[in-house]
Amino acid sequence: MAEQTTTTTTTSSATTTAPLLTVEKLSAFHGEAQALRDVSLDVAPGEVVTLVGRNGAGKTTLLRSIMGLHRNVRGSVTFDGATLDGRSADKRARAGLGWVPDDRGIYATLTVAENLSLPPVVDKDAAWSLDRIYEHFPVLRERRDFPGTKLSGGEQQMLAMARPLRAGSRLLLLDEPSEGLAPVIVNKIGEIIRDIKSQGVAVLLVEQNVSFAGTVADRHNLLAQGEIVESLPNDEFRSRTKELLQHLGM
């Protein structure tokens, strides 16, 4: 197996490289109500950036807007130097965005192996082979012929994260991966995120579990009522966690 030959040079020190994803002045609406207000952020290759905020702050709406699943959106999204504005969700996925929804989005009528091979390969060099997937997620190999929903919550989360990696996505939009999982499994998910990062894949992570977010991310964006109220690096986030949480009302 000629694996991991494509070494990446952008594993950390993200701020010095050109951003992979840039969101500029993005506003989104649910009918009359404004869910997001002029949100701007960026993610560099191989960087893990979070969106932290309480329920209803607009975190999931932001991920859906970036993915092209939310219709009523203003502002612009640029990925790898090209604009994604006005492009459909499937085109955005083929550009290299990998969506991992908060319900994990595993197909009940597809087996684990089918779930993995459903998305078309978007980048031959970046795509993980099935063998590589199974090496990083051994449990998926054991369960390859199971229907997707016969997996435990943690296994479903791993499958949901493995799916875009097999397709060769270069940025995962990860919506609350720790939600509803036991602490041991959450630690395992954290390991996987660090593993993904070390392979040069960037992550935009939505989290409510702040202590978990502090263990995996490089930078954090605090979201309240649809606006980014503060943007800060991980060490500052960790030292000021308590104060920030109070500020967000979490």
């Binding site: 993915m67 969700a89 996925a93 197909y107 009940a108 597809l110």
Partner: protein, 289 residues
């Protein structure tokens, strides 16, 4: 006992039409989110088409079984391209109303052209008689219709489970938005899937032609039973559509045999019972709240 086996065969033959048509309905609903009310009219066009082909061009049943589904596939593509497509982004109710209107139009056009009385048709060559099996006398056409429906359902099942196209259709049936977000251009499959679903209704119509009255109105009762089939099987479940189709066919046949005045009611009693025990249908998935 021999009567019971005859009713069972009749039920399986009728159930075959329901299963095939419901399969088409389920695939269209799954991939497009369209509740195709015109499915009954398409079934009727399948039967009327067979009768007209025989009358005008002397095309026998076996020819119709090939030609009519192809024609309906093309007609379905036309309907999707010209009409259904433009309403896909809107509330599903719009396409429901559109296909309802289309049904009225098709039925009335057929009435205008061919009248309200039944069109003549006969049992296909080679299947007119009965087959004697150990003291049982069974209609060879019903045997054929039941067998053919099962084979076609299995073929569609293999297409859906063993091919990449089938995998995409199953994934889209489960969640079209999520499937798009995984990089699949679901829209590209919408037109052929609609045509395919309509063609399946057409096959059901051709199979029904030799032993049902062929009239412009034959689809209106059919579509109501079809909706019951889909509710029993579980909206959006492909396997559910097939199993419930045969189940409803059997219930209808036994009802007609043993309690004729309740035959139609029984189907809806079955539907109510299923919905009470499993609100999402036999094979439907409960919505996680």
């Amino acid at each position: 006992m021999s009567a019971f086996i005859q009713y069972t065969l009749q039920g399986l033959a009728t159930g075959g039409f329901y299963a095939l048509a419901a399969l088409g309905l389920a695939v269209i609903f799954g991939v497009m989110g369209v509740v195709n009310f015109s499915h009954g009219a398409m079934y009727m066009l399948g039967a009327v088409g067979s009768a007209v082909l025989l009358d005008v061009a002397d095309v026998p049943f076996w020819g119709a079984l090939v030609i009519v589904p192809i024609l309906l596939f093309l007609f379905g593509i036309l309907v999707e391209r010209l009409l259904v497509r433009w309403l896909l982004g809107l509330d599903p109710l719009y396409n429901f109303l559109l296909t309802f209107g289309l049904t009225l139009l098709i039925v009335d056009l057929v009435k205008r052209r061919y009248g309200v009385s039944g069109l003549p048709y006969q049992l296909p060559a080679g299947l007119e008689g009965r087959i004697n099996l150990g003291g049982l006398s069974l209609s060879s056409y019903q045997l054929f219709a039941a067998f053919f429906s099962v084979v076609l359902c299995v073929a569609v099942w293999l297409l859906l489970t063993k091919t990449r196209i089938g995998m995409i259709v199953r994934a889209s049936t489960e969640d079209a938005e999520r499937t798009r977000a995984l990089g699949i251009n679901v829209g590209r499959w919408v037109t052929p899937v609609f045509g395919f679903g309509i063609a399946l209704a057409g096959v059901a119509g051709v199979l029904a032609a030799p032993f049902r009255a062929i009239t412009a109105d034959m689809g209106s009762n059919f579509i109501i039973i079809l909706f019951a089939v889909v509710v029993i099987g579980g909206l959006g479940s492909i396997l559910g559509a097939v199993v419930a189709g045969f189940l409803v066919g059997l219930v209808e046949a036994y009802g007609q045999a043993y309690a004729p005045s309740f035959a139609q009611v029984l189907i809806f009693v079955l539907m109510a019972a299923v919905v009470l025990v499993r609100p999402a249908g036999l094979f439907g998935r409960e919505e996680a709240s």
